[in-house]
């Protein structure tokens, strides 16, 4: 599994390119961190890949998942999971329902509850299954949110500053757990962040400005199929 980006750039509504065209490829189980200051276009780039780009921007370039061009594929069919800094649990559903709703359609109605509860049990959160999202702590919500994304069986993961709202102690534990989950499931992941301590491996990050040299360095280390 790989997530590749080819000559991707973001253009604002005045026609200005936010950064020079970007190319990289992320292999299964790898996490590429994209770093940069506010307003440089990191989150917009993630939105473009996820298919939710704001109308104030447009993009040029291509992005592929396992060699399949994603540009014109419907958002819900891309199989790209996304995790934001807010947990964004559905407030009208209980904790277990939030997980069950993510399961693919192959799961039967009765299976869904079982799988959701099993997942909660693995997280040691089974006691909270019937609670509303507003009744559990921030750290618990963050973990449920991550598991919800994974239960949808994504083929790649986008992380939009997912740790920035957590306090220091929680942040480190949650970060390690998220990275472990991604590696365990062998998913390619692209993360944007401000914080260097979020980067799992310095060689696996693009620092602002995302020049060609850095892109090549990342590619040389990881990308065999850069030319795909």
């Amino acid at each position: 599994m790989s997530l590749s980006v080819k000559n991707l750039s973001i253009i604002d509504d005045h026609g200005k390119m936010l950064f020079s065209p970007l190319s990289f490829s992320i292999q299964k189980g790898e996490i590429l961190a994209l770093m940069g200051p506010s307003g440089c276009g990191k989150s917009t780039l993630l939105s473009a890949i996820a298919g939710h780009i704001s109308p104030d921007f447009s993009y040029a370039g291509e992005y592929y998942l396992n060699g399949v061009l994603l540009n014109n594929i419907a958002v819900e069919k891309r199989k790209i999971g996304i995790l934001f800094q807010d947990d964004l649990l559905f407030p009208h559903l209980t904790v277990w329902e939030n997980l069950a709703i993510a399961l693919p359609d192959k799961y039967k109605k009765e299976q869904r509850k079982t799988v959701a509860r099993q997942t909660l049990s693995e997280l040691n959160l089974l006691a909270l299954a019937d609670k509303a999202p507003s009744q559990i702590s921030g750290g618990q919500r963050a973990r449920v949110s991550m598991m919800r994304m994974l239960l949808a069986e994504p083929a790649a993961v986008l992380l939009d500053e997912p740790f920035s709202k957590l306090d220091k102690t929680l942040r480190s534990d949650f970060r390690n757990w998220v990275f472990a989950q991604i590696k365990k499931r062998k998913l390619p992941a692209l993360m944007v962040t401000h914080d260097e301590s979020d980067v799992p491996d310095p060689g696996q990050s693009l620092q602002w400005p995302w020049d060609e040299k850095q892109q090549n360095n990342v590619s040389d280390r990881n990308i065999k199929e850069k030319q795909c």
């Binding site: 109308p55 958002v75 819900e76 891309r78 199989k79 934001f84 407030p91 509303a132």
Partner: protein
């Protein structure tokens, strides 16, 4: 469901919404203009002329009636705005504010006509207030002052103000939450501004432009109201809309050009008055903005007394109506009837069933359609924001049924229906009710739709759910409380429609409102009380039902949290940094 089927169904519904909600504006406006210039083929008048305007201008009491109407319209709008603002200033964020907020629903559910009848029972020279005064200050006798049908329309101004203040408060709550004023107030207090100073110097300039459309609606309603003016307004001369209404109902069809010239003039007066509001807003917010930074001074505003007065008067009308409906003998100055009777209820009961059935069926159908269309237009507008190729439906177009005088538009629509199948009275009445209920339903949904956390949709889509499934399983349940309340508002607006029911129903469809107005001018207070009471109770039942359904889904508790969070996400980053 297949994605293309979903798309086609949505487009079909959108087309139906546009056809039913916006198209009536065209015959509405065309009809009134053509008839005003005496072009009425049905009366063999096939040439344009100014006969209608000439007759109108020659009518002896015209100037007085127009001035009176402007005085009432401007006076009540100005007073409502000042009182609503002073209430917000004094009560927002206080411990009792949530209770005041909860009480808004029953007060808003009270239809204008029922309130007017109750108001009349309170303030006639032998009304409940006079009885209380007589009990306190014994032997006052029947006073000669009266707020009912007084020559200056003071009673009408007061009644309209009391009825519009809760509406302005209701609309302001959503706006103020969007403005994130709690942190603005914290900031202002830290700069040494008192609560009143912060509200007048910092919040007012933000509130006024946001509440503009609502003020337009209040002004348009106050200027063109017929039903409440028939119950409480001056009579020599009557207000201008009442005069037009009388001319329209004249058996002599030759008064038709004069009536339609009047309807046209009323439309122009309304436009001028709306510009006047815009001018005052510009004066306060832009032209005279030096006062905003001129130091910590503020005017004393009577917020707490205003809320007490508004709520007490509004809520007292119901028990007074109830007492009158069971009173057999209630002589002045007794505080309670000396003899009670069920006779009047028994006498009316048989007729009431049909009338209640009519009212509820029309209200249910029209409110449901208005709700469906409002949701579709909201979804379309959000879609157009994310896909810039599509133009959104302009807010002004949506608000026109609220901003233009009903009498003017309805007159045009009535003329247009003469060319179509006029005999389908129910259909025309339901159509008109949808048309007038739609903007209110749309407005109620506006805040929740704007503050809905759009990233929830993104997350759901990224989980592989189809757009329709995302809407049905995520957005609909989250917004269900707002949808239920909007439906109840639609029902209450439909139940309160007087002119559309009479004009397009050709007098053949009786509802609680048409009967309540007809009986209000009659001699028997007990019968009037029964109809006014029922007119109040029916929308109230639907409000309770809406709140019950909302709570049943367990959404009310979560909704506040969602709104709080999602409102925060709507705040510009520059303001956010202040909060964190």
């Amino acid at each position: 469901m297949n994605r293309s089927i979903q798309k086609i169904s949505f487009l079909l519904l959108l087309a139906a919404a546009v056809l039913i909600v916006f198209v009536p504006l065209l015959p509405g406006l065309a009809g009134v203009v053509f008839t005003a210039f005496a072009y009425i083929p049905a009366l063999e008048l096939r040439t344009f002329s100014l006969t209608g305007f000439t007759e109108l201008l020659l009518w002896p009491g015209l100037h007085k009636s127009i001035l009176l109407t402007l005085f009432i319209g401007l006076g009540s709008t100005f007073l409502s705005a000042v009182l609503a603002f002073s209430i917000l200033q004094s009560c927002w964020g206080k411990r009792y504010w949530h209770k005041l907020e909860k009480l808004l629903a029953p007060i808003l559910a009270l239809p204008h006509v029922a309130f007017a009848v109750g108001f009349a029972f309170l303030f006639t020279p032998s009304g409940f207030v006079a009885r209380i005064l007589n009990t306190i200050f014994s032997d006052l006798g029947i006073t000669h002052w009266s707020l009912i049908n007084d020559p200056y329309g003071l009673g009408l101004i007061l009644a309209l103000t009391i009825k519009e203040v809760p509406f302005l408060l209701f609309m302001s709550i959503a706006l103020l939450k969007q403005l994130n004023i709690n942190s603005t107030l914290v900031m202002a207090h830290s700069l040494g501004y008192s609560n009143a100073q912060a509200w007048q110097k910092i919040i007012l300039p933000q509130w006024l432009p946001k509440i503009r459309f609502t003020l337009f609606a209040v002004m348009a309603y106050s200027l063109s109201v017929v039903d409440v003016a028939l119950v409480l307004g001056p009579t020599s001369p009557s207000t201008f809309p009442v005069l037009i209404w009388q001319w329209l109902n004249d058996a002599d069809l030759s008064t038709l050009p004069k009536a339609s010239a009047g309807a046209f003039l009323l439309l122009l007066l309304c436009i001028v008055a709306l510009y006047l509001i815009r001018f005052v807003e510009w004066l306060v917010v832009c032209r005279q903005r030096a006062w905003q930074s001129s130091g910590r001074r503020s005017l004393p505003l009577p917020g707490k007394s205003a809320i007490l007065f508004t709520y007490v008067i509004s809520l007292t009308t119901l028990p007074v109506l109830l007492l009158w409906s069971f009173a057999q003998r209630w002589s002045f100055p007794d505080l309670l009837p000396s003899a009670w009777s069920l006779r009047f209820w028994q006498q009316e009961w048989l007729f009431l069933w049909g009338i209640i059935g009519n009212s509820i069926s029309i209200a249910l159908i029209s409110a449901t359609f208005a709700l469906l269309f409002a949701i579709i237009i909201h979804e379309y507008n959000q879609h157009s924001v994310t896909h810039k190729r599509l133009p959104p439906v302009p807010r002004l177009l949506i608000a026109i049924p609220m901003l233009a005088p009903q009498l003017s538009i309805l007159f045009g629509i009535q003329i247009a229906t003469l060319f179509a199948a006029r005999q389908h009275y129910y259909l025309w009445v339901i159509w008109a009710h949808i048309f007038f209920a739609f903007p209110y339903v749309y407005l109620v949904l506006d805040g929740p739709w704007r503050s809905y956390e759009k990233r929830l949709d993104r997350v759901a889509l990224s989980l592989g759910m189809s757009p329709f499934k995302v809407w049905w399983k995520i957005k609909r349940p989250i917004l269900l409380p707002a949808i239920c309340i909007a439906w109840a508002v639609g029902i209450s607006v439909s139940l309160a429609q007087y002119l559309p029911t009479l004009m397009l129903g050709g007098g053949r469809i009786a509802t609680l409102t048409t009967e309540a107005v007809a009986l209000a001018s009659g001699q028997d207070r007990r019968i009037s009380a029964i109809y006014a009471l029922l007119q109040s109770l029916v929308p109230f039942i639907f409000y309770i039902l809406a709140i019950f359904i909302s709570q049943k889904t367990g959404m009310m508790i979560h909704q506040n949290k969602v709104n709080k969070r999602s409102v925060d996400s709507d705040v510009p980053i520059s303001k956010k940094s202040v909060n964190y």
